[in-house]
Symmetry: D2
Subunit: 386 residues, 4 copies
Amino acid sequence: MSARWERRDIVLRTNATGHQLTAPVFWCHGRNERPLAYVQANVHGAELQGNAAILALFDMLEKDPPRGSLILVPRVNPIGANQQVGDYVAGVYDFHSGQNFNRGYLYLTGPSRASSAPYVDVDAFAAVHRDATLSEIKDGFHEALRAALHAIRDSGVTWGLDARLEFALAVQELAVEADIVLDLHTGDRAPRFIYAPEGAVAATRAFGIPFVLEVPPRFAGALDEAAFVPWNDLSEAFKRVGRSDVRRSVDGFTVELGSMNTFSMAQGVEDAKRIASALKYYGVLDGEPDDPAYRIAACSVADYQSIAAPAGGLVDPVVTPGSPVRQGDLVARIVDPSRCALPPRSADSIIEVRAPEDGVILLFHAFSSIPKGVRLLSMMTKVKSL
Amino acid sequence: MSARWERRDIVLRTNATGHQLTAPVFWCHGRNERPLAYVQANVHGAELQGNAAILALFDMLEKDPPRGSLILVPRVNPIGANQQVGDYVAGVYDFHSGQNFNRGYLYLTGPSRASSAPYVDVDAFAAVHRDATLSEIKDGFHEALRAALHAIRDSGVTWGLDARLEFALAVQELAVEADIVLDLHTGDRAPRFIYAPEGAVAATRAFGIPFVLEVPPRFAGALDEAAFVPWNDLSEAFKRVGRSDVRRSVDGFTVELGSMNTFSMAQGVEDAKRIASALKYYGVLDGEPDDPAYRIAACSVADYQSIAAPAGGLVDPVVTPGSPVRQGDLVARIVDPSRCALPPRSADSIIEVRAPEDGVILLFHAFSSIPKGVRLLSMMTKVKSL
Amino acid sequence: MSARWERRDIVLRTNATGHQLTAPVFWCHGRNERPLAYVQANVHGAELQGNAAILALFDMLEKDPPRGSLILVPRVNPIGANQQVGDYVAGVYDFHSGQNFNRGYLYLTGPSRASSAPYVDVDAFAAVHRDATLSEIKDGFHEALRAALHAIRDSGVTWGLDARLEFALAVQELAVEADIVLDLHTGDRAPRFIYAPEGAVAATRAFGIPFVLEVPPRFAGALDEAAFVPWNDLSEAFKRVGRSDVRRSVDGFTVELGSMNTFSMAQGVEDAKRIASALKYYGVLDGEPDDPAYRIAACSVADYQSIAAPAGGLVDPVVTPGSPVRQGDLVARIVDPSRCALPPRSADSIIEVRAPEDGVILLFHAFSSIPKGVRLLSMMTKVKSL
Amino acid sequence: MSARWERRDIVLRTNATGHQLTAPVFWCHGRNERPLAYVQANVHGAELQGNAAILALFDMLEKDPPRGSLILVPRVNPIGANQQVGDYVAGVYDFHSGQNFNRGYLYLTGPSRASSAPYVDVDAFAAVHRDATLSEIKDGFHEALRAALHAIRDSGVTWGLDARLEFALAVQELAVEADIVLDLHTGDRAPRFIYAPEGAVAATRAFGIPFVLEVPPRFAGALDEAAFVPWNDLSEAFKRVGRSDVRRSVDGFTVELGSMNTFSMAQGVEDAKRIASALKYYGVLDGEPDDPAYRIAACSVADYQSIAAPAGGLVDPVVTPGSPVRQGDLVARIVDPSRCALPPRSADSIIEVRAPEDGVILLFHAFSSIPKGVRLLSMMTKVKSL
């Protein structure tokens, strides 16, 4: 029996000439409504590869209908995707508000910058549901989160709905339903890596992605956090009333599928397999997840550190993203020809950049010429095996 | 005896071709080093009028040397001022980081997003200085704030100094010395108004500016807050150890000198008079501050509310910025010609926008065509007389 | 009997997420199909007021149905209108190609940069139609121009249709039908003025707009030229075969309705009256055109000169746009505070700009801070009365 | 004996805060002043690799002093290099004027859009110099070109020097002295290729670059044309007065060193060798040029054709830039997920793009997501061996 599909187009922005910038939402109903996965791609305008992964998932799901269900949203951010100035897309920050498109989501169990509307008080919820079943708790909390989103939308009736809020609501009204949320991004120039909730080791391993950044359950505005932190907060609240059986039942991952400005349908098939393996772990798809044969390198996001360019100039990377380095290793050269005196020597134009600690160089800036003080590279430190 | 002047150029950014973008700092030493005023203009690239005010202050100070001293910095943000795309400057958000140039300052007595370096613990300071004189406390706290800035700069040695931090430090290393800090901005399309610390009524009145937004002592990243909140925190800490005589001795104001993209040397002379009156209040200049004859309308920033555009379209303001309105009054029309059916009628293109509350319309968006959800206007509500 | 209206939405661009950016075309069929006026607004994204004029024309045409017909296109350029970065719209140059949106039209009777497709050979046409009636000539030439547009569209089949060409075709396939073409723009900061074909004095006067720039019949890429130059070329070709009775029967005007970034529905009613007066002259509307009581100042576009800013800095205009000046008059100050030495004097920051010739200052740059060498202002010289 | 070096910094733009954006000019005086090579890099802001080539030339020239002389200008365009919005540089079109930085040079022997100043009349020059020696002709023409540049600079005295003209003059006042001009660019995503003057086969081969576009002697605004077309015009003028011995003695090349946004010091050493080989051909360096063993594919720029994207979407290239293709071959896919109906199939999102002719795919757009009608790729057709 094949899956049942629905399509709905959500509005992310209405522009100054009244055109609606929409994203297509494909809802794949499998044998069961749950577990439900929410998968979106391209929230940052120049991070394209997740779209190829979703397209490959379409074909995979048509061939092997899922056990649970999926909401799939390619090209979720038509605003960012069209912020093209000259050749390239400047797709991280909203041209209208400076807002990072992945930092404006709503914290539904605590105060967030994006909204002053009331949120779900997890302690009050836990008090009321102290004796409820796990299933009642899960359903009740889903209902409470939905109600919080409704209240936020309603709060816009008097003073209007801010564009950032409208964006966040359009996404979160879908994502709030899910048991697992995957936000498909890319690094700047990077191998595949993943932001995973602390403690979700087995699920994280199922992706088979060799680099992992572990995210603590604290809300900082991103979608993965918006998905799992409320459920973590709920679990903690139940612990405070003496119930330790209420585990976090929703996970959120930011999956970085290589570099900005790369797009390959062929690689999309491989990426879809990685995602499918994780979805098997969660029971959304039938079958067993893959177990990666190789070592997975992990560190906390607190130990994921960036080097600010020590000078403005051209960037000549010395190591490939994904390479382990030792403290003091040369990792990049910043090159400014105007530093040459007479006679000019190429060596005089170079500022060497060395690793401040042992670790793994994970990411270089997307562009090979940057001002002083802009992120040159980011590296994992205090790396462990997962 | 004339004032003694010094000039020093500070570097705000070094660009990708190695050029230093600098701002000229003019230090006017009067009869006494203190009180010291720090006055900067144009931190947002399109907010120009403060430069005219500073130029007029130059002439005024040369004619009437000050009792105290002043640091004057026109064109403090050469990055923002040169973010010109087409005809206009997009000068609020840093093209490199999306950061609002007036939200990245450092909170020296608490945790801030801009830096993870340690800050001054006001309670520890109060404990140590419980029996100190007010003068010792003031000097000691100045010294502690300076030390915090040094520590933040030093924190950049290993991983490099982030461009936003470099900007903040360049400004705050000057502003931290001052007893009064004036950050000269403009509204989008607005009359003159001012953000003033809660409680600084007499000083605020001295500006003679008819609209006032009162800022509570909570840090949100702006320079005025970065200036006065640490001293407010200090005062509170001393209260906690039983001393109520340690009042906040530094004030910070954001002075909005009309609309973006206006610049008039003639008006600058008038603006300089407004500023001079406040500097007289603080004893930086000789003489008595003016006392405005007219009513000053004030509200808390918490009651300064914005209307998000209910539709994308052209903006036809109905009231002049600075006008009082009653709830339900028509304040603007959003016009989208594509809404016209057949036969087309201009009325069909119009979405009327009405005041949700009584108040004063203070500011319209700088541009007359905006997407849905972008700030159309901001208005004071719960207005009182100051 | 009321007019018969049709609406059709034309596609100007399909963006990277597949959304069509369209403009609404309102076709008002009056008592006769001809004379036919084509009126569009806002081809430059920040030039808004023409939309108000068109909306007012809607109401006027519904009240007084026209003798001829009109095609009315507000918001004709949704690409430019949405090139908003920060507060303002950068709407003159296409972010993708650097192309001025009003310089990419097709020259249908000569070679143009926009297309290498064949054009109408007016001499061949005149040879063939040497003995035709004026009506046959007009119909035949309309048909020939249409065929040229078709050929250009067809030329895109093999290698694809360039985005600039697609834009030009969408507009010109409508405009080519018209007897009079009005392209509603604004100046940067300017009074109302008009670009009018050389020799069209009576029609030009009918607008009642006090400043006129006379355009010679030479194609430089703008829509007004694209409209009238082919018919001028035709007239010249007929002269070469000995017929002087074939006058240019199509006129094109670029009407500048004040300053960028202003929009007023009330002013739109006044602008519609100006346009209606001209349409009466052309017989599109019933009635007599107004005859302005005041002097109209005119010069050739060849005598419309610009001053490049002699320094980078803030702009303090000394005269109001539309003011007559004498050679040597102070017209603006460029102000750069970094020029101040010690003690700083405001006078040292100023570079005075004086009129190089007698004339009328017509336009200042839209922004009050500009780099060296950018157009500071434009002025009419060798001004005459029309 | 080592070379004698001079350094001078030229001003390309003075920005709105009065900062001069300069480029460093390194003049290497070898054993003879001539032949003189002018080599610049990075006129388009995102085309970086030429800087690495120039830095490697520094080291090479210090080791082996040249027979002639060289002017070397890395980072020649600090305006374009700093037009960074978000991650990437939009460096082709001037944000202020929409002008392609490589289309605004001055045509010194004919009318150009950049200036209305008088140019050198080659026929008058040939008439006067009919009996002059070749050396007198060369010196005299150099002098005439210099005088034309002076006249253009002087023409800015009254109305000011337009920013584009200031840029062109700064470059051309240096380049006009040279016998060979190399403008180091990159393609979007491309192998190394070269724009070479028609007929300069041996010199072109000396670069050892496998793809060549032959440029006819017609001025279209680029620097290579600005360098060699006047000398070609001179040669033609002498032919018209009966002297065929006056050959074009200046060549200009645009050398495309791979893809935008790549920068490698190691590859720069290889690029410097390619350039050095050509400079040996011209006698600027000692020694014999290399003779490439492999076939060089060439076509006229008239046969260098672009495919406009047939739809907006993501770009999945099927062939590697530099690949030969046959008419009908699949060369790229445009992918728009919103095209998927239900059930969604990846195939439905794809628009296939096929080669319209036989040829070589030379270049893909720099970004993997583009609107409809934007250049998707460019290919050589009617390819021959050089």
